[in-house]
Each structure stands twice: as structure tokens, then as C-alpha cells.
Symmetry: none
Subunit: 218 residues, 4 copies
């Protein structure tokens, strides 16, 4: 299925091939263990050409992160139904998220497992994406609270914590779904994964918004 070795392609095309090769290689080996040699070979180009177009390993990794982050963000954004109730918006967003991570497992691996763990220059780039998603979730929780006629304004810190918990749960489930999940080999459809999380989260959030709390004494 690999493209026939055809020379002289326009720059834009070659660049995408290189980014594809880089995503694959970074996902397989990790940032440090991936060598520019291997990336160039997978891309079917010579190493100097990679440098000509992408300047350095750092910039290449950054470009990969930006492309994959943008694709994920766009997928979620496009999936969210605007103008409906908060829970339905969250539901559609989750479906979009799990569908995209399932279709682009290498991209997801690079974002979630590699970029986050490589310190300063890169961790920030994913942090931005994550912050966006956390903010969207936070907004949904807030909207849900209002819809539920929540009597008292929930503390920002608590809402933030809840959003982080929900996002963390989503990330964990994305990994779980991609890695065979329950071992059966076949991956669950994105819709099921989203439903699992929605069920897990919604009622708890709803009760919290209604002012109820779990307490050790109960």
C-alpha cells in the first residue's frame, strides 16, 4: 500500500508525508528513541530534505504535535451539536473525541504519551489543547448547573476538579479502547465508550449540581 517511489513532488505533499512518517515513528519509538534517519527512511526521502523542510527534530516534533492537536480539536469541535442542552453537547463532543482517537491511534499516542512527557517545549503545546477541552467541559458543567436550576453557584475550584476528572477519565478510556480494552481484540465502537463515560459521569455531576454531596458518614 506504500506509495510508489515517485520523485519530484510538490513541497506541501512531501511535507505531509514526512509528518505522517514522523507521527508513526514517534508513536512507535518515543521522541528520544526515534531517529531522524528512521523518520526519513519511513518517509521515503533523504535526511537533508527533512531538514530542509522542517529544520530540526524539535521543530518536526512541534509540527507533528500542532497538526495532530489541531486535527483532534477540530474533530471535537465539529462533532459538538450547538444549541442543544448541555448534556447533549457533552455527549456529542465525547463521541467525536473517541471516534477521532480510535481512527488516529498514533496521533493520540504522540499527543497523550509522548508530547506530555517530554518537558518544556512540547508539554506546553498539548497543555493548550487540553486546557481548551477542559474549558469546554467546564462550560458544559456550568451550563448543566444552570439548567438544573442549581440554587447556589458551585465553587470554581470544584468545577475545575470535576472537569479534570472527566477529561482524565476520557483519556484513560481512549487508551483503554485503543489497546484492545477488555482483551477481546476487537475495539469497542466509539459510541459505546462515550456511553460508558456519560453514564459514569452524568448522574454524579447532576447530583453534585443539585447540592448533594457524598460524605463518609452516609
Amino acid at each position: 500500500m506504500g506509495a510508489v517511489k515517485s520523485k519530484r513532488m510538490p513541497r506541501a505533499v512531501r511535507e505531509q508525508q514526512m509528518l505522517d512518517a514522523a507521527v508513526l515513528t514517534f508513536a512507535r519509538r518515543g521522541y528520544r528513541a526515534a531517529s531522524m534517519d528512521e523518520i526519513a527512511e519511513v518517509a521515503g526521502v533523504s535526511k537533508p530534505l527533512v531538514y530542509l523542510y522542517l529544520n530540526s527534530k524539535e521543530e518536526l516534533f512541534s509540527a507533528v504535535i500542532r497538526r495532530e492537536a489541531a486535527a483532534l480539536a477540530e474533530a471535537v469541535r465539529a462533532a459538538v451539536e450547538p444549541g442543544v442542552s448541555a448534556d447533549r453537547q457533552l455527549w456529542s463532543g465525547l463521541k467525536g473525541f473517541f471516534a477521532h482517537t480510535a481512527e488516529h491511534p498514533d496521533g493520540w499516542t504522540v499527543l497523550h504519551q509522548q508530547a506530555r512527557t517530554q518537558g518544556e517545549p512540547f508539554a506546553v503545546e498539548v497543555a493548550v489543547l487540553r486546557a481548551e477541552i477542559v474549558e469546554f467541559v467546564t462550560a458544559m458543567i456550568g451550563a448543566a448547573a444552570q439548567e438544573a436550576g442549581c440554587d447556589r453557584e458551585p465553587a470554581a475550584r470544584e468545577v475545575s476538579g470535576l472537569a479534570h476528572a472527566l477529561v482524565g477519565a476520557a483519556e484513560s478510556l481512549a487508551d483503554w479502547a485503543n489497546s484492545g480494552g477488555p482483551g477481546a481484540g476487537e475495539r469497542p465502537p466509539a459510541k459505546d465508550t462515550a456511553a460508558t463515560l456519560m453514564n459514569f459521569a452524568w448522574a454524579g455531576l447532576g447530583r453534585l449540581m443539585a447540592g448533594e454531596r457524598w460524605s463518609p458518614g452516609s
Copy 2:
């Protein structure tokens, strides 16, 4: 600053110093980027001594993983109150988990961010720890279902998904709590983090166990 440069220490002590230095360095730099030179320097010893005691970078990393995983597992085990209701057991376990990860942030980073992303030899070692915790959580959910007089047996796959979601949420909150959380600089006490997660999860789980489901139509 730091321990006085004292020479000629018994092997067991030196080994712990080396493991301490390794945890710190692996957490800061990542497995690949951490150099044995830096680890030796941080430990206050020469590189050959590190090799004499720990044989190779791989074995050193393995030793670190094992020590930190055992410590975390022990902390959770010790925290769980036995013989009480499922929700209280979960609650005590979470408190133990967040207390330990807050007290040993570097160990947590190594386990969660580094070991998991370094492929075969190491990922397995943390996977075992994680599987243990997931199993404990799964058991709690099952017990809770029984206590709640759940009419129909919940599907194993769904319970597994819920357990993964909860564990993922916990991991995410541990990171969040360690990294300054809401930015105020001061980290939240473990008890608060545990409460946030408990509130988030408990009601949802309870309603699920009672047979209620969230559905898009609602």
C-alpha cells in the same frame, strides 16, 4: 546544602541513595534523556559505582519502578479500611492514593509518565500495578452493586469500563493536584482531591447500579 559528602557507606545505603537520585532524574528528564552521568552526580558517586550496584540503565530503571510501585501499592493497601462498606473502602483507598502521590510526586511521575511510555520491558511492570488497582476498584463497584440490592447483575465489560474511567480520573487528578492544580501554587490536601473524585463518581455509579442509564433522548 544537601547531605555532607560522606564516603564509604554500606552498600544498602548507597543503593537507596542511587535509587533516590534516579527517581529524581528520571522524573525531571525522562528515561532516555536522563544520563547515567547525571544520575551518578546527583547521587554523589562515580558512575562505575552505579554500574557495580545496579548493572545497567535498564536494570536501574526497573529497580526504580519496582521500588516506587511497591511503595504506592503498599500505601494504598495500608490506607484501605477493611470490613467496612464498599464506598467507605473506596474512599479510604483514594485518600491513601492521593496522599502518597502528593508526598512522592517524582515517584508518581516516573510511574505514570515515564514507565508507561517506554515500551515492553517497563510498561509491563506498571501495568501490573495498575491492574491491581483496577481490580480493587472493580471489586468495590461489584460490592456496591450488591449492597445497593442491584436487581440485575451488571455486565463485566461495563464494570471494567467504569473502573478504568475511575482510575483514569484518579490519575488525572493526581497530576492536576501535583502540578499546582488551579494555579494558586498551594496544592490541595489529599482529602479534598479524594472528595472531589468521590463526589464525582459515587452518585453516577449508584444510579448505574440501580439500573438507570443516561440516554441522548432524555
Copy 3:
């Protein structure tokens, strides 16, 4: 003195330069004591280039052995006059052998002193060359026996022993001729060395083939 430092040479040329440098260095220092740094320096290139072309110290040494062994084998093969009597074939072969070892003393040192003493991977490669030569000598002895109208077939084991003795004598003389020999500084011409050995061996072989034996009693 020495080649002008000219850069950017085609790979085939550089590879031969590296092999030349390696022969020199391995002969001077021995396999283990020779460092890749020194070989690269002698070759006038950087170390990574040596690795790029020859992969490892082991492979470099193997390549050296193969090149030198092939050259020596070819020299002897080319020197032997075919279709003449056994003694004349042996004589021409010896001349070829001593001429080549005298012209390529480092190659001879690497084959005879280094490769043979470095155990499994390398010793085998020279053993093959030596076996070829021993077989040629064995054939000559057998042919000589027939030419001499030898009445009884000589035992294979005895012929093998004789061939080993002759080859050992030749090796020893090659070293002796190369290392200044009688100390006069000027090395003896290959023809003289060959004549010494031929004289030493021929009559003994002839008489043996004729069925005569030396015995302590005589």
C-alpha cells in the same frame, strides 16, 4: 608526507582507505588494543564514518581478514605453475607465498598473529584459508609420492602431519624473514626463503615417500 587531505571521496575509495588503516593498526596494536578512534585517525576520517561504512569493530576486523586472506590466497594461486611436476608446483607456490607476505607484512601479521588468536568469530575465517593451503600441500605430497613410484600408500594421518609441519615451517619463516631475520636489517628475497624451505623439506619428504624412516636406533 602522505596523501593530501582531500575530502568528499566516493564510498568505495574511502572504504579501502579505512581497511588500509585498520590493517596497519590491528597489526601494530592487536585486535583488542586497537581503538576505533586510532583507526579513524589513521584513515584520516571521523569515527562515525567508519561506523557508517563498516558497522562495528567486529565487522571491520572481519572485512580486513577477508580482504587480506583473499589477497594471499589469490597470490599463491596465481603463482603456482599448473601442469608441472609436484615439486615444481610446490616451489612456485612457496615463492608466491613468501613474496606476498614480504610485500604485505601487516596483512600477514593480522592474519597470522591477530586473527588466529581472537577466538570464535575470526579464528574460523583464517582457519579456512589455512585449510586450503594445507590441502594444496597435502595434494602436492600425494602427487610426489605417486611420481616417485611410492610402493605403499602413505597413511592419511601421516601426510596430514607432514603438511602441517611444512605449513608451520613456512609461517615461521615468513615471520622470520619479515622481522629482519638474521638481524642484518635487510630482508632476504622471497626466492631465498623459499629455497631454504624447499631444501629443508624436499629430501625428507622424498625419502619418506620412498618408505624410509628415521629411527632412534640408526
Copy 4:
């Protein structure tokens, strides 16, 4: 069969144990590849003790060479029957040589394969031994010439060459006999090896001494 780990032995005994261990290890691994750690372990002592008694790896190797060379020289010297004819003296010397090398294969390996190939400090020490033997052989050849009533004095250079050829043949046969020789597994008795060489050499030497020469024209 290894000696029971008994402590507190007199120095002389410990030293011999170390030399034994060193001979074994140097023969197995070669000079460079043998580590002081392994030698100490084989000897059943701690490394500092090896240094206390033998000072350095170089000195240890030198001590090994001297001990083994002296043993071989003594074995040959003791074997030679004095006061008999030249050929019988040579015969008895060869028997002694092959008997000793067969009984001490590691010592022979260290002398012939290792010491000779490690350059300046060590090669000289074996060269001395070899020179002694060459001189003895040279004397035998000279004596034989006189006994045979040789009319003209043979050239020193030619005699030296013949002696080197004979010694080289002997070395080669010693290796051959030790390494299983014809592959049958059982090593030939020293007497047979000596007879092979004696037969090979004697007639040739005799005819040479009688003034006959092999010439291409014959």
C-alpha cells in the same frame, strides 16, 4: 575438584594459585580480554590481594610468561640426552617439547598465542625462550654436519633459516596436536608427533649437510 575455600595460606602457595588462575584465564580470553576480576575470582581471592602480590596486570602476565617459559625450557633441557649423537639429542629434545606442550596446553597457548602477539614488553620474553631453542637446534644441525663429515662449512644464515623452519614446524605441530589434530578427538601421543617431525626433517637436513641441494631444474 577445586580446592576447598581455605583461608590464610602462606604467600608462596597463594601466589601459585593466582598464577594458575591467570594462565587459565589468559589462555581462554587473551591478554586484553582477561579481566583482573575474573582472574581473582578463578583464583578464589579478592582482587586487592592479587595486586598486593603481583602489583599489576602487566607484571602478572610477565610472571606467568616467565613461569611457563622456564617450565618449558626446563622440560626440554631435562629431556635431552647428553653425550649422544646429534640426531638422538634432537629426537629426545623434541619428545620433551611435545610431551610438555601436550601436558600444559594452557601454558603453551599463553606463550605461543598470547605473549607473542602483545607487542613490546611481552614478546621479548618469549623471544628469549625461542632464541634458546633455536640455538640448541642450530647447534644440533651444526654437530650433525660435522658428524656427517660435511666437506664445506654451511653458511650461518642458511643454518639459521633451517633452524627457524624446524622450530616453526614444531610449534605448528604442537598446536595441531593440542587442537585435536586430525579431528579424531583423541590427541596423538607426543612420541608420534615427534616422530612425524623427525622423519620430515632429518633426511632433508642430512642431504643438505652432504652438500646436495634441491633445484628447480631437477
